[in-house]
């Protein structure tokens, strides 16, 4: 039963992820923390951060919510739920998309959904900020990363690791 619930929740979340992984973060936090109590807010933040450190899509971290709940089987169920239905949908939708290349509605969908997607990404960013930025050090790290990236391109992996190391140094140094 638990595995079934895990499956439909993460399948639903992937189908709702218009604008990518960040866009669905508030809904994911709401469902996994408030609605089903699978993880606490702090655990959600830590799991999110583990996803930032690994290669590949950062949202692979969803598997750890499954792992926490039902071990490796739970992780596998979440992995399938989050990626399989969405990939099948994308495969067919993309072929349709190519088919409708000349349709003016295709442009309307792309044009109209773009600001919705950005609004959702902003909401996702704020959701993580509420969990991660609660003192001056956290705020300084976030603002510095933003400033550095506006100034020039730096490998995000370096900034992510530097954020972690600097926070440890500030807390225990």
């Amino acid at each position: 039963m638990k595995l079934f619930t895990l499956f439909w929740v993460f399948a639903l979340l992937s189908i709702l992820a218009v604008g990518g992984g960040t866009a669905v973060l508030p809904q994911m936090q709401h469902m996994t923390v408030d609605q089903f109590h699978w993880v606490s807010n702090k655990q959600f933040r830590d799991i999110y951060s583990i996803g930032q450190v690994a290669p590949g899509p950062n949202m692979l971290m969803v598997m750890l919510i499954g792992y926490k709940l039902a071990g490796f089987l739970g992780a596998a169920v979440v992995g399938f739920a989050f990626f399989l239905p969405d990939c099948i949908l994308t495969l067919f939708a993309n072929r349709l998309w190519v088919h409708f290349a000349a349709s003016p509605w295709r442009r309307a969908v792309q044009r109209g959904m773009a600001p919705v997607a950005i609004g959702l990404m902003l909401a996702g960013t704020v959701a993580i900020a509420k969990l991660a930025v609660f003192n001056l050090v956290g705020a300084a790290i976030a603002i510095t990363v933003f400033g550095v990236l506006l100034w020039r391109h730096v490998n995000p992996a370096l900034l992510i690791m530097a954020g972690g190391v600097i926070y440890i140094a500030a807390m225990f140094g």
Binding site: D46, G56, C87, P115
Partner: protein
């Protein structure tokens, strides 16, 4: 569909990359993209490395991947894999992009589960999340700079943000209601739809490499 079929028919059988080669290419991108930003690695390997697509085709594929639900990097793997070798190509591309990260996330997760009371581990993860906030803000501003400057887009954007963050309205309803209104605003023939769209700054495409999910 006709376009993809035609593209496939025009490429002779030996011109098409083997499934093993597709898998290996996506596996490399999936394994090397520490810290996220998989889209930039995919571009490096499929456009510059293998030359399976040119830059415009890649950006077209990316645009579709961003509009469809799901992770951008995964959708992009499906679209490129399908283009190269149909369903089987899409399957090996997705497997390649996900497998290395899955193994590493699971390994880190098992270690974290044992050590999560350790204050250094917690502090490190808080710092990582704070840095991620800076990264996400950059990506959102850079992707959305067009939406952030026109009043109509800004209104749709703000309505979406406020519905989710302030009123905690379910994402399904936000997409159905605000999404439908937004598409209708830009429906074919509406004068908003015909408004000339400023082309993004050239740096914009380069910076898109930061796109993460």
């Amino acid at each position: 569909m006709s376009e993809t079929l035609a593209a496939r028919a025009s490429a002779s059988a030996d011109e098409r990359p083997s499934l093993a080669r597709i898998f290996k290419t996506f596996l490399t991108a999936g394994g090397i993209s520490f810290g996220g930003g998989v889209v930039a690695y995919l571009r490096e390997y499929t456009v510059r490395g293998e030359k399976w697509l040119d830059d415009d085709e890649f950006l077209d594929a990316l645009e579709v991947s961003q509009t469809l639900p799901g992770l951008n990097a995964v959708n992009l793997s499906v679209v490129i894999g399908d283009r190269l070798r149909g369903v089987a190509g899409a399957a090996v591309a997705v497997a390649g992009i996900l497998i290395p990260g899955m193994l590493i996330v699971m390994t880190l997760g098992v270690v974290w589960e044992e050590r999560r009371r350790n204050p250094y581990v917690t502090a490190f993860l808080i710092g990582v999340a704070a840095a991620a906030v800076g990264l996400l803000t950059t990506v959102t501003v850079q992707l959305g700079h067009r939406q952030l400057t026109h009043w109509l887009d800004l209104t749709i954007l703000s309505a979406t943000f406020v519905a989710v963050t302030v009123f905690h309205i379910s994402l399904l309803w936000v997409l159905l209601v605000i999404g439908t209104i937004a598409v209708l605003i830009y429906r074919p023939g509406s004068h908003h739809g015909e408004r000339e769209v400023k082309l993004p700054h050239p740096h914009f495409h380069k910076r898109r490499g930061l796109l993460r999910d």
